[in-house]
Protein backbone atom coordinates (compact mmCIF):
# COMPACT_ATOMS: atom_id res chain seq x y z
CA UNK A 1 0.00 0.00 0.00
CA UNK A 2 3.03 2.24 0.04
CA UNK A 3 2.30 2.91 -3.57
CA UNK A 4 0.79 6.31 -3.01
CA UNK A 5 4.22 7.88 -2.85
CA UNK A 6 5.10 6.66 -6.30
CA UNK A 7 2.40 8.11 -8.53
CA UNK A 8 3.11 11.79 -8.91
CA UNK A 9 1.08 14.60 -10.36
CA UNK A 10 3.88 17.11 -10.84
CA UNK A 11 6.76 16.41 -13.20
CA UNK A 12 10.08 16.27 -11.35
CA UNK A 13 13.32 18.05 -12.15
CA UNK A 14 15.69 15.38 -13.51
CA UNK A 15 16.38 14.73 -17.16
CA UNK A 16 14.06 11.73 -17.47
CA UNK A 17 11.24 13.65 -15.80
CA UNK A 18 11.54 16.47 -18.29
CA UNK A 19 10.95 14.36 -21.38
CA UNK A 20 7.65 14.77 -23.19
CA UNK A 21 4.84 12.31 -22.52
CA UNK A 22 5.17 11.04 -26.08
CA UNK A 23 8.76 9.99 -25.54
CA UNK A 24 8.03 8.36 -22.20
CA UNK A 25 5.09 6.31 -23.42
CA UNK A 26 6.79 5.24 -26.64
CA UNK A 27 9.98 4.28 -24.84
CA UNK A 28 7.97 2.27 -22.34
CA UNK A 29 6.02 0.42 -25.02
CA UNK A 30 9.12 -0.37 -27.03
CA UNK A 31 11.13 -1.54 -24.03
CA UNK A 32 8.22 -3.71 -22.93
CA UNK A 33 7.99 -5.34 -26.34
CA UNK A 34 11.76 -5.75 -26.34
CA UNK A 35 11.73 -7.48 -22.95
CA UNK A 36 8.81 -9.72 -23.87
CA UNK A 37 10.31 -10.89 -27.15
CA UNK A 38 13.77 -11.88 -26.00
CA UNK A 39 14.89 -14.81 -23.90
CA UNK A 40 18.47 -13.96 -24.62
CA UNK A 41 20.44 -12.70 -21.64
CA UNK A 42 22.81 -10.82 -23.92
CA UNK A 43 19.85 -8.72 -25.05
CA UNK A 44 18.24 -8.36 -21.64
CA UNK A 45 21.23 -7.35 -19.53
CA UNK A 46 21.86 -4.00 -21.28
CA UNK A 47 18.28 -3.03 -20.47
CA UNK A 48 18.79 -4.03 -16.85
CA UNK A 49 21.91 -1.88 -16.62
CA UNK A 50 20.17 1.02 -18.36
CA UNK A 51 17.26 0.62 -15.97
CA UNK A 52 19.48 0.77 -12.90
CA UNK A 53 21.26 3.86 -14.22
CA UNK A 54 17.91 5.44 -15.09
CA UNK A 55 16.40 4.86 -11.70
CA UNK A 56 19.47 6.23 -9.90
CA UNK A 57 19.51 9.29 -12.14
CA UNK A 58 15.95 10.13 -11.06
CA UNK A 59 16.87 10.48 -7.36
CA UNK A 60 13.59 8.94 -6.20
CA UNK A 61 12.22 8.40 -2.72
CA UNK A 62 13.85 5.02 -2.15
CA UNK A 63 11.73 3.72 0.71
CA UNK A 64 8.62 2.56 -1.22
CA UNK A 65 10.79 1.35 -4.09
CA UNK A 66 12.87 -0.85 -1.82
CA UNK A 67 9.70 -2.25 -0.35
CA UNK A 68 8.26 -3.03 -3.78
CA UNK A 69 11.54 -4.49 -4.97
CA UNK A 70 11.75 -6.84 -2.00
CA UNK A 71 8.14 -7.88 -2.57
CA UNK A 72 8.71 -8.54 -6.27
CA UNK A 73 11.88 -10.54 -5.63
CA UNK A 74 10.32 -12.75 -2.95
CA UNK A 75 7.16 -13.34 -4.97
CA UNK A 76 9.13 -14.21 -8.09
CA UNK A 77 11.55 -16.54 -6.37
CA UNK A 78 8.53 -18.37 -5.04
CA UNK A 79 6.91 -18.40 -8.48
CA UNK A 80 10.09 -19.72 -10.06
CA UNK A 81 10.12 -22.52 -7.53
CA UNK A 82 6.56 -23.39 -8.54
CA UNK A 83 7.57 -23.32 -12.19
CA UNK A 84 10.29 -25.78 -11.35
CA UNK A 85 7.91 -28.09 -9.51
CA UNK A 86 5.28 -27.94 -12.25
CA UNK A 87 7.71 -28.83 -15.00
CA UNK A 88 11.33 -29.61 -14.12
CA UNK A 89 11.99 -30.19 -17.80
CA UNK A 90 11.06 -26.65 -18.83
CA UNK A 91 14.58 -25.60 -19.82
CA UNK A 92 14.92 -28.50 -22.26
CA UNK A 93 12.06 -27.15 -24.36
CA UNK A 94 13.96 -23.94 -24.89
CA UNK A 95 17.44 -25.35 -25.33
CA UNK A 96 16.89 -28.78 -26.92
CA UNK A 97 19.42 -30.32 -24.60
CA UNK A 98 19.46 -31.72 -21.09
CA UNK A 99 22.32 -31.70 -18.63
CA UNK A 100 21.18 -33.35 -15.44
CA UNK A 101 23.08 -31.91 -12.51
CA UNK A 102 21.35 -33.68 -9.64
CA UNK A 103 18.54 -36.15 -9.11
CA UNK A 104 15.91 -35.17 -6.63
CA UNK A 105 13.21 -37.33 -5.00
CA UNK A 106 10.12 -38.13 -7.08
CA UNK A 107 9.95 -37.00 -10.69
CA UNK A 108 12.08 -33.93 -9.99
CA UNK A 109 15.59 -33.42 -11.23
CA UNK A 110 17.79 -30.39 -11.56
CA UNK A 111 19.10 -29.68 -15.03
CA UNK A 112 21.47 -26.92 -16.07
CA UNK A 113 19.06 -25.71 -18.75
CA UNK A 114 16.19 -25.34 -16.32
CA UNK A 115 18.33 -23.40 -13.89
CA UNK A 116 19.48 -21.14 -16.69
CA UNK A 117 15.89 -20.67 -17.87
CA UNK A 118 14.75 -19.73 -14.38
CA UNK A 119 17.67 -17.33 -13.98
CA UNK A 120 16.92 -15.65 -17.33
CA UNK A 121 13.29 -15.37 -16.39
CA UNK A 122 14.20 -13.75 -13.10
CA UNK A 123 16.44 -11.16 -14.76
CA UNK A 124 13.73 -10.53 -17.33
CA UNK A 125 11.12 -9.81 -14.68
CA UNK A 126 13.56 -7.67 -12.73
CA UNK A 127 14.26 -5.57 -15.84
CA UNK A 128 10.55 -5.31 -16.49
CA UNK A 129 10.11 -4.10 -12.93
CA UNK A 130 12.81 -1.46 -13.37
CA UNK A 131 11.25 -0.21 -16.60
CA UNK A 132 7.78 -0.02 -15.03
CA UNK A 133 9.11 1.82 -11.99
CA UNK A 134 10.97 4.35 -14.12
CA UNK A 135 7.85 4.86 -16.19
CA UNK A 136 5.63 5.36 -13.15
CA UNK A 137 8.11 7.64 -11.44
CA UNK A 138 8.60 9.83 -14.46
CA UNK A 139 5.09 10.19 -15.81
CA UNK A 140 2.13 12.26 -14.71
CA UNK A 141 -1.43 11.24 -15.65
CA UNK A 142 -1.82 14.01 -18.24
CA UNK A 143 1.44 13.13 -19.91
CA UNK A 144 0.34 9.51 -19.96
CA UNK A 145 -2.78 10.46 -21.90
CA UNK A 146 -0.85 12.74 -24.24
CA UNK A 147 1.67 10.00 -24.93
CA UNK A 148 -0.99 7.39 -25.60
CA UNK A 149 -2.73 9.81 -27.93
CA UNK A 150 0.52 10.15 -29.85
CA UNK A 151 0.45 6.43 -30.66
CA UNK A 152 -3.03 6.82 -32.18
CA UNK A 153 -5.09 5.54 -29.27
CA UNK A 154 -8.57 7.14 -29.47
CA UNK A 155 -8.64 10.05 -27.05
CA UNK A 156 -11.61 8.72 -25.08
CA UNK A 157 -9.57 5.64 -24.18
CA UNK A 158 -6.67 7.96 -23.29
CA UNK A 159 -8.97 9.78 -20.90
CA UNK A 160 -10.02 6.50 -19.30
CA UNK A 161 -6.38 5.58 -18.70
CA UNK A 162 -5.52 9.06 -17.46
CA UNK A 163 -8.42 9.24 -15.01
CA UNK A 164 -7.88 5.69 -13.81
CA UNK A 165 -4.24 6.42 -13.17
CA UNK A 166 -5.18 9.66 -11.43
CA UNK A 167 -7.75 7.89 -9.22
CA UNK A 168 -5.45 5.21 -7.84
CA UNK A 169 -3.98 7.20 -4.92
CA UNK A 170 -7.48 8.32 -3.90
CA UNK A 171 -8.79 4.79 -4.01
CA UNK A 172 -5.85 3.40 -2.06
CA UNK A 173 -6.41 6.07 0.58
CA UNK A 174 -10.14 5.33 0.78
CA UNK A 175 -9.42 1.63 1.01
CA UNK A 176 -7.05 2.16 3.92
CA UNK A 177 -9.51 4.41 5.72
CA UNK A 178 -12.38 1.98 5.35
CA UNK A 179 -10.21 -0.96 6.29
CA UNK A 180 -8.95 0.78 9.43
CA UNK A 181 -12.42 1.82 10.51
CA UNK A 182 -13.72 -1.71 9.94
CA UNK A 183 -10.91 -3.11 12.06
CA UNK A 184 -11.69 -0.55 14.73
CA UNK A 185 -15.19 -2.03 14.80
CA UNK A 186 -13.75 -5.45 15.47
CA UNK A 187 -13.56 -7.07 12.03
CA UNK A 188 -10.69 -9.56 12.08
CA UNK A 189 -8.48 -9.12 9.01
CA UNK A 190 -5.56 -11.30 10.04
CA UNK A 191 -5.27 -14.09 7.44
CA UNK A 192 -4.02 -16.54 10.02
CA UNK A 193 -7.04 -16.25 12.24
CA UNK A 194 -9.95 -16.56 9.81
CA UNK A 195 -10.74 -18.86 6.90
CA UNK A 196 -10.63 -17.79 3.26
CA UNK A 197 -14.37 -17.56 2.77
CA UNK A 198 -14.86 -15.60 5.96
CA UNK A 199 -12.17 -13.22 4.75
CA UNK A 200 -13.99 -12.94 1.43
CA UNK A 201 -17.07 -11.86 3.34
CA UNK A 202 -15.04 -9.30 5.26
CA UNK A 203 -13.40 -8.01 2.11
CA UNK A 204 -16.86 -7.49 0.66
CA UNK A 205 -17.72 -5.45 3.73
CA UNK A 206 -14.81 -3.16 2.85
CA UNK A 207 -15.34 -3.19 -0.90
CA UNK A 208 -19.03 -2.32 -0.99
CA UNK A 209 -18.51 1.07 0.71
CA UNK A 210 -15.41 1.56 -1.44
CA UNK A 211 -17.41 0.90 -4.61
CA UNK A 212 -20.23 3.18 -3.50
CA UNK A 213 -17.95 6.06 -2.52
CA UNK A 214 -15.88 5.71 -5.70
CA UNK A 215 -18.81 5.49 -8.10
CA UNK A 216 -20.55 8.36 -6.28
CA UNK A 217 -17.81 10.66 -7.55
CA UNK A 218 -18.54 9.72 -11.16
CA UNK A 219 -21.44 12.12 -11.56
CA UNK A 220 -19.45 15.10 -10.33
CA UNK A 221 -16.42 14.38 -12.47
CA UNK A 222 -18.53 13.72 -15.57
CA UNK A 223 -20.49 16.94 -15.08
CA UNK A 224 -17.32 18.94 -14.62
CA UNK A 225 -15.93 17.47 -17.83
CA UNK A 226 -19.14 18.08 -19.75
CA UNK A 227 -19.23 21.70 -18.58
CA UNK A 228 -15.75 22.17 -20.01
CA UNK A 229 -16.93 20.84 -23.35
CA UNK A 230 -15.39 17.39 -23.19
CA UNK A 231 -16.16 15.07 -26.07
CA UNK A 232 -17.59 17.67 -28.43
CA UNK A 233 -14.84 17.43 -31.03
CA UNK A 234 -13.23 14.55 -32.81
CA UNK A 235 -9.72 15.51 -31.80
CA UNK A 236 -8.06 16.77 -28.69
CA UNK A 237 -4.77 18.35 -27.80
CA UNK A 238 -2.97 18.12 -24.49
CA UNK A 239 -1.84 20.94 -22.26
CA UNK A 240 0.77 18.70 -20.62
CA UNK A 241 2.50 18.06 -23.93
CA UNK A 242 5.34 20.50 -24.47
CA UNK A 243 7.79 20.95 -27.31
CA UNK A 244 10.54 18.41 -27.80
CA UNK A 245 13.71 19.15 -25.89
CA UNK A 246 17.19 18.12 -26.95
CA UNK A 247 17.01 14.99 -24.79
CA UNK A 248 13.74 14.04 -26.51
CA UNK A 249 15.43 14.13 -29.89
CA UNK A 250 18.23 11.88 -28.63
CA UNK A 251 15.76 9.45 -27.11
CA UNK A 252 13.76 9.44 -30.33
CA UNK A 253 16.77 8.10 -32.18
CA UNK A 254 17.27 5.51 -29.41
CA UNK A 255 13.73 4.22 -29.49
CA UNK A 256 13.58 4.11 -33.25
CA UNK A 257 16.75 2.01 -33.30
CA UNK A 258 15.41 -0.33 -30.63
CA UNK A 259 12.09 -0.62 -32.46
CA UNK A 260 13.97 -1.64 -35.61
CA UNK A 261 15.93 -4.22 -33.61
CA UNK A 262 12.63 -5.59 -32.25
CA UNK A 263 11.12 -5.87 -35.73
CA UNK A 264 14.22 -7.55 -37.10
CA UNK A 265 14.42 -9.96 -34.17
CA UNK A 266 10.76 -10.96 -34.33
CA UNK A 267 10.93 -11.41 -38.10
CA UNK A 268 14.03 -13.55 -37.69
CA UNK A 269 12.29 -15.64 -35.04
CA UNK A 270 9.31 -16.23 -37.32
CA UNK A 271 11.31 -17.01 -40.42
CA UNK A 272 13.90 -19.30 -38.84
CA UNK A 273 11.81 -22.18 -37.48
CA UNK A 274 14.65 -24.05 -35.79
CA UNK A 275 15.79 -20.98 -33.91
CA UNK A 276 16.31 -21.59 -30.20
CA UNK A 277 14.79 -18.85 -28.12
CA UNK A 278 16.89 -19.22 -25.02
CA UNK A 279 20.55 -18.41 -25.24
CA UNK A 280 22.41 -21.11 -23.32
CA UNK A 281 26.16 -20.51 -23.02
CA UNK A 282 27.18 -23.90 -21.59
CA UNK A 283 25.82 -26.13 -24.34
Amino acid sequence: MNNKFIINFQPGSTMLHKLTGTTKVRMFIIFTVYLIMSWDLRLILPVTVAGIIGIISMKPNWKPIKFMLAFVIILNLFNLFLFFIADPDIGTKFCNSRTVLADLPGYLYLSGETLWYLFTRFIKILSSFLISIIFILSITPSEFAAGLNSVKVPYKICTVVELAYRCIPDIVRDYQNISTSMQARGVEMDPKKVSAFKRLKQMVMIIVPLLLSSFDKVGNIANAMDLRGYGKKKKRSYYAEHEMTKADKVFRVVYIVIALICVAYIAYKMLAPGYLQLWYPFA
Binding site: S132, V160, A164, L200
Partner: protein, 202 residues
Amino acid sequence: MFNNMKGRCIEMKKGIGKALVGEWSTKTIVTMAVGAALFGVLMVYGGIPIFSMTNLSTAMIVPVVVGAMYGALPCSLTLLIGNIIADLIAGNGMWFDWSIGNAVLGFFVGLLPVYGAYITEGIFKVKHAVIYAVLCIIGNIIAFGVVTPIFTYLFYGGELKVTFIMAGFACAGNIAVLLIVGIPVLFLLAKRYASRTNLTEE
Protein backbone atom coordinates in the same frame (compact mmCIF):
# COMPACT_ATOMS: atom_id res chain seq x y z
CA MET B 1 -45.39 9.61 -16.64
CA PHE B 2 -46.42 8.70 -20.17
CA ASN B 3 -43.20 10.06 -21.60
CA ASN B 4 -41.22 8.02 -19.17
CA MET B 5 -43.01 4.88 -20.22
CA LYS B 6 -42.40 5.66 -23.84
CA GLY B 7 -38.74 6.30 -23.18
CA ARG B 8 -38.47 3.00 -21.44
CA CYS B 9 -40.11 1.15 -24.33
CA ILE B 10 -37.64 2.71 -26.75
CA GLU B 11 -34.83 1.75 -24.46
CA MET B 12 -36.07 -1.84 -24.44
CA LYS B 13 -36.02 -1.99 -28.21
CA LYS B 14 -32.40 -0.89 -28.47
CA GLY B 15 -30.65 -3.35 -30.71
CA ILE B 16 -28.15 -5.92 -29.57
CA GLY B 17 -25.38 -3.90 -31.17
CA LYS B 18 -26.17 -0.95 -28.93
CA ALA B 19 -26.26 -3.20 -25.90
CA LEU B 20 -22.85 -4.57 -26.81
CA VAL B 21 -21.11 -1.30 -27.55
CA GLY B 22 -22.83 0.66 -24.81
CA GLU B 23 -23.34 4.39 -24.74
CA TRP B 24 -20.13 6.40 -24.85
CA SER B 25 -21.12 9.45 -22.87
CA THR B 26 -18.76 11.31 -20.56
CA LYS B 27 -20.31 9.45 -17.66
CA THR B 28 -19.45 6.10 -19.22
CA ILE B 29 -15.86 7.19 -19.67
CA VAL B 30 -15.53 8.33 -16.06
CA THR B 31 -17.18 5.16 -14.78
CA MET B 32 -14.81 3.05 -16.85
CA ALA B 33 -11.86 4.99 -15.46
CA VAL B 34 -12.96 4.62 -11.84
CA GLY B 35 -13.74 0.96 -12.49
CA ALA B 36 -10.33 0.37 -14.01
CA ALA B 37 -8.60 2.06 -11.09
CA LEU B 38 -10.62 0.02 -8.59
CA PHE B 39 -9.92 -3.15 -10.52
CA GLY B 40 -6.21 -2.40 -10.59
CA VAL B 41 -5.98 -1.59 -6.89
CA LEU B 42 -8.10 -4.55 -5.81
CA MET B 43 -6.20 -6.88 -8.07
CA VAL B 44 -2.94 -5.93 -6.45
CA TYR B 45 -4.05 -5.50 -2.84
CA GLY B 46 -7.51 -7.07 -2.53
CA GLY B 47 -6.72 -10.70 -3.21
CA ILE B 48 -7.29 -13.37 -0.64
CA PRO B 49 -4.68 -16.09 -1.03
CA ILE B 50 -6.27 -19.52 -0.83
CA PHE B 51 -3.45 -21.40 -2.49
CA SER B 52 -0.07 -20.35 -3.81
CA MET B 53 -0.33 -17.97 -6.79
CA THR B 54 -4.09 -18.14 -6.55
CA ASN B 55 -6.28 -15.48 -5.16
CA LEU B 56 -9.94 -15.16 -4.53
CA SER B 57 -9.71 -11.93 -6.45
CA THR B 58 -12.27 -9.53 -5.03
CA ALA B 59 -11.53 -7.27 -8.00
CA MET B 60 -14.06 -9.35 -9.93
CA ILE B 61 -16.89 -7.36 -8.32
CA VAL B 62 -15.93 -4.36 -10.46
CA PRO B 63 -16.90 -5.86 -13.86
CA VAL B 64 -20.24 -6.90 -12.39
CA VAL B 65 -21.05 -3.30 -11.47
CA VAL B 66 -19.66 -1.70 -14.65
CA GLY B 67 -21.27 -4.35 -16.84
CA ALA B 68 -24.60 -3.88 -15.12
CA MET B 69 -24.51 -0.15 -15.75
CA TYR B 70 -22.94 0.18 -19.18
CA GLY B 71 -22.83 -3.12 -21.02
CA ALA B 72 -20.27 -5.38 -22.61
CA LEU B 73 -17.64 -3.27 -24.39
CA PRO B 74 -17.08 -0.71 -21.61
CA CYS B 75 -16.86 -3.59 -19.14
CA SER B 76 -14.31 -5.38 -21.30
CA LEU B 77 -12.17 -2.27 -21.76
CA THR B 78 -12.36 -1.53 -18.05
CA LEU B 79 -10.82 -4.90 -17.25
CA LEU B 80 -8.19 -4.55 -19.98
CA ILE B 81 -7.03 -1.14 -18.74
CA GLY B 82 -7.45 -2.16 -15.11
CA ASN B 83 -5.26 -5.18 -15.55
CA ILE B 84 -2.57 -3.23 -17.41
CA ILE B 85 -2.54 -0.66 -14.62
CA ALA B 86 -2.39 -3.43 -12.03
CA ASP B 87 0.65 -4.88 -13.81
CA LEU B 88 2.19 -1.43 -13.87
CA ILE B 89 1.80 -0.68 -10.17
CA ALA B 90 2.63 -4.21 -9.06
CA GLY B 91 5.85 -4.08 -11.05
CA ASN B 92 5.68 -7.77 -11.83
CA GLY B 93 6.27 -7.41 -15.53
CA MET B 94 3.61 -6.81 -18.16
CA TRP B 95 1.48 -9.87 -18.86
CA PHE B 96 -0.68 -8.85 -21.78
CA ASP B 97 -1.96 -12.39 -22.27
CA TRP B 98 -3.78 -12.15 -18.95
CA SER B 99 -4.99 -8.63 -19.67
CA ILE B 100 -6.55 -9.83 -22.90
CA GLY B 101 -8.04 -12.84 -21.10
CA ASN B 102 -9.60 -10.52 -18.55
CA ALA B 103 -10.96 -8.33 -21.35
CA VAL B 104 -12.69 -11.36 -22.86
CA LEU B 105 -14.09 -12.30 -19.47
CA GLY B 106 -15.32 -8.74 -18.99
CA PHE B 107 -17.15 -8.98 -22.28
CA PHE B 108 -19.02 -12.07 -21.10
CA VAL B 109 -19.84 -10.58 -17.71
CA GLY B 110 -21.00 -7.35 -19.31
CA LEU B 111 -23.49 -9.10 -21.60
CA LEU B 112 -26.20 -8.47 -18.98
CA PRO B 113 -28.35 -6.04 -21.03
CA VAL B 114 -28.21 -8.32 -24.07
CA TYR B 115 -30.31 -11.00 -22.44
CA GLY B 116 -32.68 -8.51 -20.89
CA ALA B 117 -31.24 -7.84 -17.46
CA TYR B 118 -31.56 -4.04 -17.43
CA ILE B 119 -30.13 -3.46 -13.97
CA THR B 120 -30.42 0.31 -14.25
CA GLU B 121 -34.17 -0.14 -14.65
CA GLY B 122 -34.39 -2.59 -11.80
CA ILE B 123 -34.87 -5.70 -13.93
CA PHE B 124 -32.96 -8.68 -12.64
CA LYS B 125 -34.84 -11.92 -12.11
CA VAL B 126 -33.87 -15.47 -11.22
CA LYS B 127 -33.91 -16.35 -14.93
CA HIS B 128 -31.28 -13.68 -15.57
CA ALA B 129 -29.22 -14.86 -12.63
CA VAL B 130 -29.10 -18.36 -14.12
CA ILE B 131 -28.05 -17.04 -17.56
CA TYR B 132 -25.49 -14.82 -15.84
CA ALA B 133 -24.04 -17.77 -13.92
CA VAL B 134 -23.77 -19.89 -17.07
CA LEU B 135 -22.15 -17.03 -18.99
CA CYS B 136 -19.65 -16.44 -16.19
CA ILE B 137 -18.56 -20.05 -16.29
CA ILE B 138 -18.37 -20.16 -20.10
CA GLY B 139 -16.61 -16.79 -20.18
CA ASN B 140 -13.99 -17.86 -17.67
CA ILE B 141 -13.28 -21.07 -19.53
CA ILE B 142 -13.00 -19.31 -22.89
CA ALA B 143 -10.98 -16.40 -21.49
CA PHE B 144 -8.44 -18.31 -19.43
CA GLY B 145 -8.65 -21.76 -21.00
CA VAL B 146 -8.45 -20.67 -24.64
CA VAL B 147 -7.62 -17.01 -25.20
CA THR B 148 -4.92 -16.53 -22.56
CA PRO B 149 -2.94 -19.67 -23.53
CA ILE B 150 -3.09 -18.66 -27.20
CA PHE B 151 -1.64 -15.25 -26.42
CA THR B 152 0.84 -16.74 -23.97
CA TYR B 153 2.08 -18.90 -26.79
CA LEU B 154 2.20 -15.99 -29.23
CA PHE B 155 3.82 -13.44 -26.91
CA TYR B 156 5.93 -15.42 -24.52
CA GLY B 157 6.42 -18.78 -26.24
CA GLY B 158 6.08 -22.18 -24.61
CA GLU B 159 5.30 -22.36 -20.89
CA LEU B 160 1.79 -23.60 -21.59
CA LYS B 161 1.74 -26.18 -18.84
CA VAL B 162 2.25 -23.58 -16.14
CA THR B 163 -0.23 -21.23 -17.78
CA PHE B 164 -2.89 -23.94 -17.78
CA ILE B 165 -2.30 -24.69 -14.11
CA MET B 166 -2.53 -21.00 -13.23
CA ALA B 167 -5.55 -20.56 -15.50
CA GLY B 168 -7.36 -23.40 -13.75
CA PHE B 169 -6.93 -21.78 -10.36
CA ALA B 170 -7.76 -18.32 -11.69
CA CYS B 171 -10.95 -19.68 -13.27
CA ALA B 172 -12.04 -21.36 -10.06
CA GLY B 173 -11.37 -18.23 -7.99
CA ASN B 174 -13.05 -15.90 -10.48
CA ILE B 175 -16.13 -18.08 -10.84
CA ALA B 176 -16.43 -18.31 -7.07
CA VAL B 177 -16.30 -14.54 -6.64
CA LEU B 178 -18.48 -13.78 -9.68
CA LEU B 179 -21.22 -16.12 -8.45
CA ILE B 180 -21.03 -15.90 -4.66
CA VAL B 181 -20.59 -12.14 -4.52
CA GLY B 182 -21.75 -11.08 -7.98
CA ILE B 183 -25.32 -12.37 -7.93
CA PRO B 184 -26.26 -10.78 -4.57
CA VAL B 185 -24.64 -7.53 -5.72
CA LEU B 186 -26.71 -7.60 -8.92
CA PHE B 187 -29.94 -8.21 -7.00
CA LEU B 188 -29.02 -5.39 -4.63
CA LEU B 189 -28.21 -2.99 -7.47
CA ALA B 190 -31.42 -3.88 -9.29
CA LYS B 191 -33.41 -3.27 -6.12
CA ARG B 192 -31.66 0.03 -5.56
CA TYR B 193 -32.40 1.24 -9.08
CA ALA B 194 -35.97 -0.10 -9.02
CA SER B 195 -36.78 1.98 -5.98
CA ARG B 196 -35.51 5.04 -7.87
CA THR B 197 -37.39 4.55 -11.14
CA ASN B 198 -40.71 4.15 -9.35
CA LEU B 199 -42.64 3.09 -12.43
CA THR B 200 -45.48 0.58 -12.50
CA GLU B 201 -47.10 -0.86 -15.60
CA GLU B 202 -50.85 -0.45 -15.82
